[in-house]
Amino acid sequence: MSAIAAPPTLSIDGIAVPINGERNLLELIRKTDIDLPTFCYHSDLSVYGACRLCIVDIAGRGIQGACSTAPEPGLVVRTQTEEIREIRKISVELLLANHERECTTCSKSASCQLQDVARRLGINKVRFKAVHEPAEVDRSSPSVTRDPNKCVLCGDCVRFCSEIQGIGAIDFAHRGHDVAVLPAFGNGLGEGECINCGQCAAVCPTGALTPRQEIDEVWKALVDPTKTVVAQIAPAVRIALGELFGMQPGESTRGQMVAALKRLGFKYVYDTAFAADLTVIEESNEFLARKSKAGKLPLFTSCCPAWVKFAEQYFPELLPNLSTCKSPQQMLGALVKELLPQELGVAKKNLVMVSIMPCTAKKFEAKRPEFAHEGVAEVDHVLTTQELARMIEEAGLRFMKLQPESFDMPMGFKTGAGVIFGNSGGVSEAVLRYASEKVTGRKLTNPDIHAVRGEDGLRIVEVPVGDITLKLGIVHGLKNARTLAEKARHGNCDLDIIEVMACPGGCIGGAGQPVSRNPDIRKLRTRGLYDVDKNMELHKSQENHFVTECYQRHLGEIGGRNAHRLLHTHYQNRRRIAGESIELGDGDSAEKLCVNVCTGTTCFLKGSQHILHELLDQVEQEQLHEKVSIHASFCFEQCSHGPTVSVDGKNVPSCTPEAAKNAILQAISEKVP
């Protein structure tokens, strides 16, 4: 046997460095422990090469961007020369010139890469004048705040949204001086396709995109003596919060987190994982019923609100495939608002539910109108992990020194199954731990189901359960979800369950988590959650006796009426973009019969263009201009019955050109007195 040939090398600052399949010079340089500064490089995204900070000097080639140069044997690379230093400084100064430098009031301040780079490069003055006029801050989204005055145009957000989430809610617009990252038509972020995942804010190196803050509202409730404030904490928060107080990523904060919340003034602290156990039971039974009664499969999970909005916008025909289970956040909120007022003798309106989430989309979810009843929301405020850390700091609590406290019972009790909900594959594993016992009637001795664990964004696994084999799809990143959903839409998907989480690695990688540049962060946090599960006594939701008791005392039967009222929900078709209809007749149409043809995505695919065409012909041929005005509209939110045409306010579902024409003729004849 011959010895394995040594890999080829190139020289970096005089040191020979082996090339081992790195995609670009930047990766290789970083492996040698030189942290070249960058804004626009992100290993999960495509290479953009715009920030020009990663420049190096290559002998014979001059100054090149390291991110867009392939490593070649024999290259002689220098990362520091007088010229490089000067160019980097100028690049950063130019960015700073146009950047609103209100750092002390910026919520990204502690993790801002622009500040970091400016400090590292020793920038002590800015030699250029601003050429931008201040632009308005966009606060239209419940999840992400957009401050264009702080954008450095690196495009990380644009690429994340389109490459990983497959959406493209924001993009570069205008040119020259006026270039900006904008939602379509310069609208607010809250008005369009954005599904509130917040990942654009997570990758944004500056304060241009930040998770929306709700801290003030929560403080206000906490200091109000008439209010009783109750918290719930999602699984993924406990293994990340500590990162902001000097703990290792993935290290569980255990009792300090609860202690901190109590010190901040929360009366009770519950665990969202309790509701995750409930979700497992409801969702597994929903699945088993569908499986045995040939119901709608694959069953898509519904605990990720970013995915739910995505499905509502792009896959209306799959909404019946979504589990009707609310997310654990909403389940817990609903239970608290149902049970606590009586137990504590407080008025519903004085009970404030605050959830601590790794997620920005949960902020949107909490505001969905169906989750408020008679003006009382199930969840009043959603704080991210980052916001909680900030409140702890503001209160001056020495986090690491706090005496640990435990969650309040009964809704603070959970099993390991509820905890692993926080990472990709966790929901599947939790459901399998339940379903397999239910199907086989035998105890599952080893609860670990390694087949569903993993890091890939799209995993297909088969797991034997008794005599049958269940086929599961597990995805994170909505572009991957789209791949499976497209298959399901076309009826060629033989999966039983599809677990979808929008964020990289699942909730542990949520945009509300501490910002980290550690490349192993997801792995560490995921391991952290599995460790918590390992260290617990109970691993299966069916072993949560407080959940069992909750069914006995309050909910009644699994999947029964009361359970449905409190724990389940429904979905709605949702338009991708706010927009008016296109008037296709002449201007004044007040007196006329108004015909609207939906040209939203679904109806378009179902042939609405053809209908529109025929109707316009009909109007022309039969000289109906005086009587009929035709409009093309965007999405009636009736997609599952598309193509939709509305004639004089009445919808004609599953419309054909003939049906539309008949409806028009009939409506005209009725109008004639």
């Binding site: 993009d171 379509a184 038509f185 396709e193 040209t599 316009l616 201009h625």
Partner: protein, 167 residues
Amino acid sequence: MRSKSDPECNGRKFVKIFTILEKYERNPSRLVPILQAVQEEYRYLPREVLTYVATALNISPARVFGVATFYSHFATEPRGKHVIRLCNGTACHVKDSIPILEVIRKRLKLEGKKITTDDMMFTVETVACLGACGLAPVVVVNEDVHGEMTPANGLELVEAIIAQELS
């Protein structure tokens, strides 16, 4: 008062979009020629039409908007019947193109950021170098190039159009 548009013209225009989309096989990589063709129909790129194009090409409206605002040739706001473009490239700028712009804007009562008159008759805009520097300063009215302009000639051009429209 003339009516805002012909009765059936909007419908026909829209049908034209279908044809344009089919002609380019709804291929997202042909977005630029598609927008070009749409603008020829509408003289600008209305929002709703851009949304329709995005839907038909299965790309995000933000991307379509981005492309539509990247090229100065495309307009995303309605434009007047007559488009007056003033070159403000280096050559024209040094030969005093700005005073021409100022008199024309004043005559048409265009203030602040407005570039189109309320009656939708005129749009006045500046463009970067039209490649006719030898004739600087240059004014283009609709498709006609006028060279070596002065504020007075510029005004005359505008007056001539107004007179013609009134007759």
